[in-house]
């Protein structure tokens, strides 16, 4: 960020007052730029870094739009009972008998007729509006992405932090358990999980969450090994702070940066996995629309009406790319060695 624009030296973490104090007290001879170089940690600095990164911003925009759609459709589905969908569009989950089937998108033609502005992206083989179903599919995708990653993140952080902090036999036991989990193929594990507990979105999310615990646990453990040797951890111990408070307050926050990056990437991955599960018939059950299940239903129509497959495929692609772009941007922003 140094020297690209003349006004780019606005210090990201310091308000004008704290800057004044700092220059006054410590470095009367240094300019205000010094504070910017020093302040390479903290949320505001990270956000500042992100703003300098156009690809990360694209990712952030995609995620924001997708999340907004997901929130809107969740409210409509759960609180308003599809009131908005019923009045404006075709209900995404039911099978209306009146509408024409398999219309193409606007500007295209097929045996059923011409695309209309009523159905911007066309309709599926039961005449349901593709756009509406995509919107309601976003709800599922974003939910599973966040919930399953959150489960893996919390589980993995707890296991990894305890394992790394105590070491010794505790580390051995926990890590062998985690590696056992790691050794089982991902999809097999989740499918077995659902076979045992039942096919529902809930179990799909928990299954994927549990299956990602090893990734997070190993990641955070490797960081904890170095953080626990830091003097401030030793200082906290010497001041009589109890172990679990040291882990919560000192170890985890200082080990969290790579985990945050991994979590962002993992959300994208979880969306793909749950889409795959839905494609295989696990996960969301029809008629609730989800992208994976839409893809699955479109298989028989792929040649004549390819947009059945194209739209949900594109939706998955764009959303996942969004999370990956943000994840990469975060990695750069959190890595002190990379200076943009």
């Amino acid at each position: 960020m140094a020297g690209d624009t003349s006004h780019g030296h606005e210090p990201p973490t310091d308000t004008a007052t704290s800057m004044d104090v700092q220059t006054e007290v410590e470095e009367p001879s240094e300019g205000g730029v010094e504070g910017e170089v020093e302040a390479r940690v903290g949320l505001r600095y990270t956000l500042y870094q992100l703003r300098q990164d156009p690809t990360a911003l694209v990712g952030l925009v995609i995620i924001t739009v997708a999340t907004a759609i997901a929130i809107f459709t969740t409210i409509d589905a759960n609180v308003l009972d599809y009131w908005f969908a019923e009045t404006v569009w075709v209900h995404p989950a039911r099978d209306p008998e009146t509408v024409e089937v398999a219309l193409p998108p606007v500007g295209m033609e097929n045996v059923f007729g011409q695309g209309t502005w009523d159905h911007l992206l066309g309709t599926d083989h039961r005449g349901r509006d593709m756009l509406v179903r995509l919107f309601y599919g976003t709800r599922i995708a974003i939910t599973v992405g966040f919930v399953s990653t959150f489960i893996g993140l919390v589980g993995g952080t707890v296991v990894g932090a305890i394992s790394g902090f105590y070491g010794g036999w505790i580390d051995d036991v926990l890590m062998r358990a985690v590696e056992t989990l790691y050794a089982i193929p991902f999809l097999v594990l989740v499918i077995a999980f659902m076979a045992a507990f039942g096919r529902s979105l809930m179990f799909a999310m928990v299954g994927v969450g549990v299956a990602t615990i090893p990734t997070f646990a190993r990641l955070i453990r490797s960081r904890v090994f170095s953080v626990r040797e830091e003097d401030y951890v030793e200082a906290a111990r010497a001041a009589g702070v109890r172990d679990r408070w040291i882990i919560v307050r000192h170890i985890i926050p200082n080990s969290f940066a790579p985990v945050l990056v991994q979590a962002t990437l993992q959300i994208g991955l979880a969306i793909i996995i749950i889409a795959g599960l839905s494609f295989l018939g696990f996960g969301v059950q029809p008629p609730t629309p989800s992208w994976g299940q839409m893809l699955s239903q479109s298989r028989d129509w792929m040649i004549e009406n390819p947009w059945f497959s194209i739209w949900p495929g594109l939706a998955i692609l764009i959303t996942v790319v969004g999370f990956n772009l943000l994840g990469d941007g975060l990695r750069d922003a959190l890595d002190p060695r990379i200076q943009n």
Partner: protein, 376 residues
């Protein structure tokens, strides 16, 4: 200065590290006392076991290290102590404080530590004030509002300007000297009776070091806190300490009041340490370093541990291990002890023994072979 009852009593403390290469005897039977209101120095080269000794007092030594012997007594509490069981094994004595009791009653509350590197001893993700307040809340049974007041007062006390404003600043916004002041504030804020300072000024430049030493001197007068001051710098010792323990390879080789140590030096190692100091009042072409390197504590030389590097070494030094004995003479006060056979308290035939040529490589070889330096 000192009353009759020692605040801290360390007797024959042994701390060892069990590594794959063998047992490292980092601290090998040291004894010293700290009386209320005094600053006791623990001096020696890197690797002499000073920091391990300091950590042992608070039982902070971690696996693979362990305290294997000796006794540590603080006020009326037994911090560490072993007793023999019938079958020749030793076990921890019943009145010894449990790890959780040490944590709750001793650490921070009664004995605080200031670590060497002020850059690393503060957590970068929290503001300085919140870390200070955390320690105060934990160790002084006060509400968080009171803790904040105490914390701000303490920051002011250690000379942080505009303490109330800087309370919410993060460690990276402080300079090294300022951070060391914060750490001192942290240690003092819990009003302990003893502060262990583990080379607290080593990472600072000399002008800041002088400021910090003055600050500690002032605060020590005000709060009557005792200090164990770990350092390798004889200059710092002269500046701040009341009494000094010179350590070499896990053992205390000389114990003396500060005046005695500098003016009535009894141990050749202390002499050598003093000779290696740059002196502003004397211009020399070359400093006098101590010949050789300190052997590894994993396999210390036989007899006196310093003998492979000692200019006064004689044949007897390689055979018998001296313990610190009272070395009273007309110019030194009571309590001066030195572990050297040149001390008249010993009667092992040093003066009749043959001198050995001290060679520079002796120390290094001694680390590899137990017979190192013994051949005449």
């Amino acid at each position: 200065m000192s009353t009759n009852e020692p605040l801290l009593e360390v007797r024959d403390l042994k701390t060892q590290f069990f590594t794959e290469e063998g047992t490292v005897r980092a601290v090998d039977g040291i004894s010293f006392d700290v009386y209320p209101g005094e600053i006791v120095g623990l001096v020696g080269e890197s690797g002499a076991g000073k920091s391990v000794a300091a950590q042992s007092i608070l039982r902070l030594v971690e696996d693979p290290g362990a305290i294997v012997g000796g006794e540590i007594r603080f006020k009326d509490e037994l911090l560490f102590g072993l007793e023999e069981t019938g079958d020749g094994e030793t076990r921890e004595r019943d009145e010894m404080l449990s790890p959780s009791a040490i944590r709750r009653q001793i650490r921070g509350r009664e004995i605080a530590i200031i670590f060497q590197d002020p850059m690393e001893s503060l957590n970068p993700v929290y503001s300085v004030g919140s870390q200070l307040r955390e320690f105060v809340e934990l160790n002084r049974d006060v509400s968080s509002g009171e803790a904040r007041t105490i914390a701000v007062d303490m920051l002011r006390e250690v000379g942080i300007p505009e303490a109330a404003d800087r309370f919410t600043d993060y460690p990276h916004q402080f300079s090294g000297g300022m951070r060391q002041r914060v750490l001192i504030a942290m240690a003092l804020a819990c009003e302990p009776s003893l502060i262990i300072a583990d080379e607290p000024t080593t990472a600072l430049d000399v002008t800041v070091e002088a400021q910090i030493l003055n600050l500690v001197d002032d605060l020590q007068d005000k709060y009557e806190t005792s200090f164990v001051w770990v350092t390798h710098d004889m200059g710092v010792v002269a500046e701040i300490c009341d009494r000094v323990n010179v350590m070499y390879l896990g053992e205390v080789v000389e114990q003396a009041d500060i005046e005695d140590l500098f003016h009535g030096t009894k141990h050749p190692y202390t002499e050598a340490l003093l000779a290696s100091l740059p002196r502003p009042d004397r211009t020399v072409d070359q400093l006098e370093p101590i010949e050789g390197v300190m052997p590894e504590a994993i396999n210390p030389p036989s007899g006196c541990r310093f003998h492979p590097r000692c200019p006064h070494a004689r044949e007897v030094c390689g055979r018998i291990d001296p313990d610190p004995r009272a070395a009273e003479s007309e110019e030194s006060a009571a309590g001066h002890r030195a572990a050297c056979f040149r001390n008249e308290a010993f009667d092992v035939g040093y003066w009749e023994s043959d001198p050995v040529e001290a060679d520079a490589a002796g120390g290094f070889e001694a680390g590899l072979t137990s017979e190192g330096g013994e051949s005449p």
